[in-house]
């Protein structure tokens, strides 16, 4: 049974963080590309719900949500976005390479699909050293078109790696729809071809989605074998940046309206949560991140000597 109060709190936290980024981006205090998680928070929250100490997570360039869901201290993440010296990686990583050291979220890659092979090795290290820890890796539907992801499915299956492949299928690669990119009619057929247990869910049915996460994580943890979890979702804002991009004409705002009917913050009653609880959390995290972002602005930039440190 999912603890929806906890899950929704994580979703609100991520949403408020991302909306803070939207509000301040025009001031140029974040001088790097940002790929927002708005609308795709729930998968990150559900990962956190099923995450155990010692597990590993591998994200991608759209990983604000994952990092926030796994972090216990958000300040280093804000500082990293601002490329400040006190950031998680001293300002050398930024939004596209976020990490959460306290919960084994390795820094992320901006090259589509590239984190997936790395997750194989991490999962093998867990197979060799742990009887219950697992790894999970997140990637979008564009990554399915990268050869390394298909290679990785084969390797994970052959090696029996304790790894959850999580496909966030938002139907878009930048502006390109699936129809022009992929001849695969059903992404869940791919893991099945490699003998990998396949699960699927959608943001349209949050209760079932939580069940699918629980099933996939439990299977991998117990069977010490990989699973593939396909999650249908929708990207609310532009691929990179903070704005809506309906003016480009490649998609319709009607699509968003349809997905928002299933959004937990718009309709918390879907999981029997009161709207007042969401309002309370929204104000709490709005104020929390407003203050934190303002404080972080005053923090120092990296030093000149940082340029050549930690190369070799």
């Amino acid at each position: 049974m999912n603890d929806w109060k906890k899950t929704i709190e994580t979703v609100v936290l991520i949403r408020q963080f991302e909306e803070r980024v939207q509000k301040i981006y025009h001031t140029d205090c974040i001088q790097s590309p940002v790929h927002l998680s708005i609308g795709q928070e729930l998968a990150c929250a559900l990962i956190a719900d099923h995450y155990m100490a010692g597990d590993f997570a591998i994200g991608n360039y759209r990983s604000h949500g994952l990092a926030l869901a796994l972090a216990t201290d958000y300040r280093p993440l804000v500082l990293e976005l601002m490329a400040k010296r006190g950031g998680t990686s001293g300002g050398k990583a930024g939004s596209m390479h976020l990490s959460v050291p306290e919960n084994n979220m390795i820094w992320t890659s901006a090259i589509v699909g590239s984190g997936v092979p790395v997750s194989l090795g991490i999962a093998d290290s867990l197979k060799r050293t742990s009887s219950n820890n697992i790894a999970c890796v997140l990637f979008g539907d564009g990554a399915i078109e990268e050869g390394c992801v298909l290679e990785s499915l084969n390797i994970a299956s052959l090696m029996n790696l304790p790894l959850v492949f999580i496909l966030e299928n938002n139907g878009l690669a930048i502006h390109a729809r699936k129809e022009v990119r992929s001849s695969v009619s059903n992404y869940s057929d791919l893991p099945s071809a490699f003998g990998i247990s396949s699960y699927s869910g959608s943001y349209r049915d949050p209760i079932d989605l939580a069940f699918q996460f629980n099933s996939a994580f439990t299977y991998v943890r117990n069977a010490r074998k990989p699973a593939f979890l396909a999650v249908d979702c929708y990207r609310w804002v532009e691929h990179v940046g903070v704005a809506c991009d309906w003016d480009l004409g490649y998609r319709s705002p009607m699509e968003l309206t349809e997905w928002q009917q299933h959004d937990l913050l718009e309709n918390p009653s879907l999981v029997s949560i009161d709207k007042d609880y969401v309002r309370f959390l929204t104000i709490k995290y709005h104020d929390y991140f407003e203050a934190m972002f303002e404080e972080c602005l005053l923090e120092p930039d990296p030093l000149k000597s940082d340029l050549l440190s930690n190369v070799y």
Binding site: G115, V118, L120, G121, D124, S125, C148, E151, N310
Partner: protein, 347 residues
């Protein structure tokens, strides 16, 4: 710790590799060797002979081809505390691994601001002869040396090969080691050292300075042997680490001799030998530099063309004598080196 001879008897380059790797697996249970064919009967030209039975099939294991993903796999293992070695039968296949090697491995330490390191090693073997052609013969040390965060090692002698591998993980830097198939039968005495030799001095002299890389070291030694019969002597250096160049001894020698021949086992555009030349001239050297390397073409399969593609003992000798302004008659045909002449396939 003093340098200790491993054995008074010369051993082959292949045996030196095996002993260096064996030491790694004996001393550290976190060291793993994997790649296509590493546990097959040929045991990677014998360099991994009996490793599966000695160390277990979980520490020396065959894999799918998937060079790209298995590079990422090694990076993941390395980030998690293991010390994996990914083996490729030909260096040319490293091009399939470049995203993971360059975008991922090389940046692990920097992007994590030192929180993670990536003690991941890649073994790659460059081929030559028996028609290795355009895609089984390339050596990419210059290309990989262009990348900050990667270490590139190109051992030429049994001593360099042994000490490259026996000290491989003394530092936690992702490393590409490029071996050469034509060196596998070369014999030499091996001394146990406590670090990877960045550069070795193979002979001393006063007339000129020579720096060679990979199989060109063997060809250079043949040329220098003939040169000594003409009463010339040479400071001969074999470059192992092409990524972090240790050139003080070369500079000192160059300033004394005034003549430097650089012999690369690679193309010359944007090459490590041009970097060496630049280093010398920007550090006070004002003598003459001559550079030899691959012809500016893909490697041809035809033997007659292949022999022209590479520098040879003969062309190295000619280069030396030109620098030495030697105008008397000398041998015009040192012949094809035996390891090339005698090599038969099928691979």
């Amino acid at each position: 710790m003093p340098n200790i001879p491993l054995s008074s008897e010369p051993i082959t380059y292949a045996e030196a590799i095996r002993l260096g790797l064996e030491k790694q697996l004996i001393t550290d249970p976190r060291v793993l060797v994997y790649g296509l064919g590493v546990d097959d009967p040929k045991a990677m030209y014998g360099t991994l002979q009996d490793f599966p039975s000695k160390f277990g099939s979980n520490r020396c294991f065959d894999t799918p081809l998937s060079e790209d993903s298995l590079t990422g796999y090694g990076i993941g293992l390395a980030i998690s505390g293991f010390k994996p070695i990914h083996v490729h039968q030909r260096t040319d296949f490293l091009l399939l691994c470049c995203n993971q090697l360059i975008n991922m491995a090389a940046g692990v330490k920097y992007i994590s601001n030192g929180r993670h390191t990536c003690p991941f090693a890649v073994r790659a073997i460059t081929g030559r002869s028996w028609g290795q052609g355009a895609q089984h013969s390339q050596s990419f040390h210059s290309m990989f040396s262009n990348i900050p965060g990667l270490r590139v090692l190109v051992p030429s002698t049994p001593d360099e090969a042994y000490n490259t591998y026996s000290n491989l993980f003394n530092v936690d830097i992702p490393t590409v080691v490029i071996e050469h198939r034509m060196l596998y039968a070369t014999k030499g005495v091996v001394t146990e050292r406590t670090c990877v030799p960045g550069i070795s001095q193979l002979s001393s002299g006063t007339d000129m300075t020579l720096v060679s890389i990979s199989h060109m070291t063997l060809e250079s030694q043949r040329a220098l042997k003939y040169l000594s019969s003409l009463n010339f002597s040479c400071n001969h250096f074999s470059l192992v680490d092409t990524s972090v160049l240790q050139l003080q001894s070369v500079l000192d020698s160059a300033k004394l001799t005034g003549k430097v021949l650089l012999v690369d086992h690679g193309w010359l555009n944007s090459s490590v030998v041009h970097t060496i030349s630049s280093y010398l001239y920007t550090h006070g050297f004002n003598g003459v530099v001559k550079i030899l390397g691959y012809a500016d073409s893909p490697c041809p399969t035809a033997k007659s063309l292949e022999n022209l593609f590479y520098p040879s003992a003969q062309s190295i000798l000619a280069g030396c004598l030109e620098m030495l302004n030697y105008d008397k008659p000398y041998v015009k045909d040192l012949g094809i080196s035996p390891e090339i002449l005698n090599f038969k396939g099928p691979f």
